[in-house]
């Protein structure tokens, strides 16, 4: 390999480091207007009237819209393939507010300051309704319904309950199997509401161009889904819409969603002027999306020798006011997690309820971090009860090469799935290398008697795209100088997919990496792709790039084979040169000139790739903590991740994915939590009170790439982006248990919670 597997310079890194104007908002159009959203102060209330006359009198205010001004077309804002498995329970502007922060009206003005000032002058008449902010109450309630709309496509029990989605899938017979087990352990785990907190807020600019087309420049993970969703919502054809994705300042799932693009589009169409809307950080933390809060009950039956015979996971989840990703995130909680220990009997149940809380949705890991926390905490509990070493219990039961994922056929993307067999796994090696790096079994000595140290571990697996659903396209075109244009629908949101895809293209054509000019995610100019989610880009979109580049190579071999009078298979593409069997040799530039001016063809190909497989990447993650028994403070001293993401295309970028995921995961474990009061009001909507990891919060990190060769992946690759966020929380909490004997069933494991746990232990 000349390019794949090398740490080439990330293709966009220099312009980003130079602060070039490459993001959505680094852009100004003449006559641009600024939009601001008026948000509901009530968790549940009918919006009877909005009087905008006082607001419209203010200087610079151009337009105010509320539900009366926008046609009610039910849709989901989840950015998923058509037909979306999320309920059509959302309107651009609702006649009923369903959480504190729901959209009530939108003001558009000549400046952001004028728009903000106008919000205070809108007079709204509400009719308050009883609100449900507790998951159990919402589950039991049949009188107060959060969604009662007449067109309830996809709402599980519309008009009858507040359930947004239910799942009940079983392999074997768990109840029967539990009766014969030597030991049954049941525990309940509690997962908090956390937020993606990409540093670039949601931001979009829309305008009408000289061809009367709607152009939307936006920070998104799903440009093609957005175009389709906007066409439906606005009732204009896709042909009149162009979505452009510039550089994106992080997404992590929170931009796999139509969060604001509908509003700028509606307003641009109404006013005929460019309209910009950018979330404040407060809006990010109140009106974007969260990782679903869940309560998970695990029941596991084992034999005395440690064989796991039966596993049951019950999930109660809060989707908030709308059901974006309600079914599929919760599906993943079991689907991506339970197969780690493929027992003969597995039962997975979900109740996902609407509440009058702010909205949950997609966030890196997509349900798996919750499930992994419960399962991997629980495995430690089972080992403890059984009197068996927790590492040995895992080794005995974890999924191995050639094993079938027992849930895969039962559970796909909101429907039945495709059978998944493990064709590559580095999990055993990852466990071995991870144990070595952390010093498993050798506890180091703390510096004072009130400090206790402990070690913890967790195993994790995920997928590489959604089998049978996710697909992407790529186009490769050769230029005069031997460079190629590579255009892909795949969406670089900072993870480096442009770089990785360019590497694959260069490798396939035998040209230097810097000869690839990549363009990604412009719905007018690039092929389709589902977008950046579900750990799909390297594996799925990469497959399309390899196919397209191979086809161009085939075209060139055909032309040169005729010229050199040899078989196309005798022609070799390497090091920027093309060589034939009888010492013929040309640079790729000369080949391009020959093709374009002698053969008179444009070497060019478009290819699509979809996979019926979704090979799991694996991770073994290890934490060392030091707990202050006087204050409950947890100091994360070291963290080791050993990850099998197949053959890494760009090892340094893969490490970066893992390190970033660990930083997010340790926040989940130790300090991140969006706090709500009883009315569903967010109490900490800023970075001072909702703390994400700073440079001082991350420990000494060791990251090990365990290379495997995935037979279905491009150059042996699997996914890297999500699997490493699953293990940090359980590994850290297991380390706390190891240090001080306190099991944190609820995260984040704040000092107060650990301290309370210590008090109970000694009582």
């Amino acid at each position: 390999m000349k390019v794949v597997g090398r740490n080439v310079t990330k293709i966009d890194a220099f312009k980003l480091a130079r602060g070039e104007p490459v993001f959505t908002d680094d852009f100004h159009r003449e006559g641009m207007l600024y939009a601001k959203v008026l948000r509901s102060p009530h968790p549940h209330a009918k919006i009877l009237n909005v009087n905008a006359s006082a607001a419209l009198e203010l200087d610079g205010v151009v337009d105010v819209i509320w539900h009366r001004d926008v046609k009610a077309i039910p849709h989901t804002r989840a950015g998923q393939s058509h037909p979306e498995p999320s309920p059509y329970d959302t309107l651009v502007l609702p006649p009923k507010a369903r959480f504190i922060g729901d959209r009530v009206a939108v003001v558009v003005a000549e400046s952001a300051a004028q728009a903000t000032a106008a919000l205070a002058r809108l007079e709204v008449e509400y009719e308050e309704l009883p609100a449900l902010t507790d998951m159990d109450e919402a589950l039991a309630e049949t009188e107060v319904l959060i969604h009662e709309e007449p067109d309830p496509r996809g709402i599980s029990e519309a008009g009858a309950t507040n359930v947004a989605a239910r799942i009940d899938k079983q392999v074997g017979d768990v109840d029967a199997a539990l009766k014969d087990c030597d030991l049954v352990v049941t525990r309940t785990y509690y997962l908090p509401r956390v937020q993606a907190s990409h540093i670039e807020p949601h931001v979009s600019i829309a305008w009408i161009d000289e061809d009367d087309r709607l152009i939307v420049r936006t920070s998104t993970q799903v440009p093609f889904h957005l175009r389709r969703m906007l066409a439906r919502i606005l009732e204009i054809p896709e042909a009149r819409i162009r979505v452009i994705k510039p550089r994106v300042g992080g997404g992590f799932g929170d931009k796999q969603e139509l969060v604001i693009e509908d509003l700028v589009s509606v307003l641009a169409l109404r006013t005929g002027r460019p309209v910009r809307l950018e979330f404040t950080r407060e809006e990010e933390l109140t009106a974007a999306r969260y990782r679903h809060p869940q309560r998970i009950t695990m029941t596991t039956g084992v034999m005395n020798d440690g064989t796991i015979v039966a596993n049951r996971m019950h999930v109660l989840a809060d989707t908030g006011a709308y059901g974006s990703h309600a079914l599929t995130v919760q599906g993943n909680t079991g689907q991506k997690v339970l197969p780690m220990y493929p027992a003969a009997n597995i039962h997975f149940q979900v109740d996902c309820v609407y509440t009058n809380n702010p909205i949950s949705g997609a966030f890196r890991g997509y349900g798996a971090p919750q499930g992994c926390f419960a399962l991997e905490s629980h495995i430690d509990e089972v080992a403890l009860e059984l009197g068996m070493d927790r590492l040995e219990l895992r080794k005995k039961n974890h999924i191995k090469l050639g094993d079938t994922d027992p849930l895969s056929a039962k559970l796909g993307e909101g429907k039945e799935g495709l059978v998944r067999v493990v064709n590559s796994t580095g999990l055993d090696k990852a466990i071995e290398l991870g144990c070595e790096a952390i010093g498993w079994g050798k506890k180091s000595e703390p510096s004072a008697p009130h400090l206790k140290r402990g070690l913890g571990m967790a195993l994790a697996m995920q997928g590489s795209g959604i089998a049978g659903v996710d697909w992407g396209g790529a186009t490769v075109k050769l230029n005069d100088d031997g460079s190629v244009n590579l255009s892909v629908g795949a969406t670089d949101i900072g993870q480096g997919s442009d770089t990785v895809l360019a590497q694959m293209c260069a490798e396939e054509l035998g040209i230097p990496y810097d000869k690839v000019i990549i363009l990604s995610s412009d719905t007018d100019l690039t092929p389709f792709d589902v977008g950046a989610y579900a750990s799909s880009t390297t594996y799925v979109s990469g497959g399309a790039v390899v196919k397209a580049a191979a086809e161009v190579r085939g075209q060139l071999a055909g032309v040169l084979g005729a010229h050199w009078e040899c078989g196309p298979e005798e022609i070799v593409f390497s090091d920027g040169r093309v060589t034939g069997p009888r010492e013929q040799s040309m640079t790729m530039g000369d080949v391009a000139l020959f093709a374009l001016y002698e053969a008179k063809i444009q070497p060019m190909a478009t290819a699509s790739h979809m996979s019926d497989d979704s090979p799991p990447p694996f991770a073994a993650q290890f934490a060392e903590v030091e707990v202050d028994t006087e204050t409950g403070q947890v100091h994360l001293r070291r963290f080791v991740s050993a990850v099998d993401c197949g053959t890494p295309i760009h090892p340094r970028l893969a490490e970066g994915q893992i390190e970033g995921a660990v930083a997010q995961g340790l926040g989940y474990a130790l300090f991140e939590e969006v706090l709500l009061d009883r009315t569903g009001r967010v109490l900490n909507p800023n970075f001072l009170d909702y703390k994400i990891a700073s440079s001082l919060d991350v420990p000494d990190m060791v990251t090990i790439l365990v290379s495997t060769d995935e037979p279905t992946g491009p150059y042996g690759a699997k996914a890297a982006g999500e699997v490493p966020i699953d293990g940090p929380a359980p590994a850290i909490v297991n380390a706390i248990r190891d240090a001080v004997g306190v099991r944190m069933y609820r995260i984040p494991a704040t000092s107060e919670r650990v301290w309370r746990g210590l008090k109970e232990e000694t009582r």
Partner: protein, 159 residues
């Protein structure tokens, strides 16, 4: 109101509103390297140098810049130290989405420009402390810190 200040070495006059922040004024003037991340002084993406000191430009009223010197990434593109920092960050894979990077680079630049008291060098701890005001959600700070250490290691330490 009108303010006059030195922006990246050039005498600049800007019309600003009372209460308008320096970040807003800079971006309205199409100086786009300072990024808006929170507007509450917590994330550091809008970090610029005010008379050589790193500040969150979202927390500085634009009028405060009147008569002062403001330096953004646009003004440091030819600076040797900044180019070294940029190059090391890029080569270490420390730039993922890149949104926080101009602000983070300005903080590192300020640290290394001012140097340390004689006999001390810029170690990992110093670097991590200098970056506490620059939130990055992508990298876990591992590669940015490694890159900064590489730059610091190549610098001459005052004896």
């Amino acid at each position: 109101m009108n303010i006059s200040f030195n922006l990246n070495g050039t005498a600049t006059d800007l019309e600003v509103a009372p209460g308008e922040t320096l970040l807003q004024a800079l971006r309205a003037a199409k100086v786009f390297s300072p990024k808006l991340g929170c507007e509450t002084g917590d994330c550091g993406s809008c970090t610029v140098l005010l008379d050589g000191q790193p500040v969150n430009s979202c927390m500085v009223v634009a009028a405060r810049a009147d008569g002062h010197r403001v330096t953004t990434m646009e003004g440091l593109l030819g600076d040797d130290l900044m180019v070294r920092l940029q190059t090391e960050l890029v080569e270490h894979g420390a730039v993922q989405c890149g949104y926080c990077i101009p602000g983070l680079l300005i903080s590192l630049y300020a640290l290394m420009k001012q140097g340390l008291p004689a006999g001390e060098d810029i170690d990992e701890k110093t670097i991590r402390h200098a970056l506490t005001g620059n939130l990055c959600r992508c990298t876990g700070y591992v590669k940015p810190v490694e890159a900064a250490r590489a730059v610091a290691a190549a610098m001459e330490v005052p004896k």
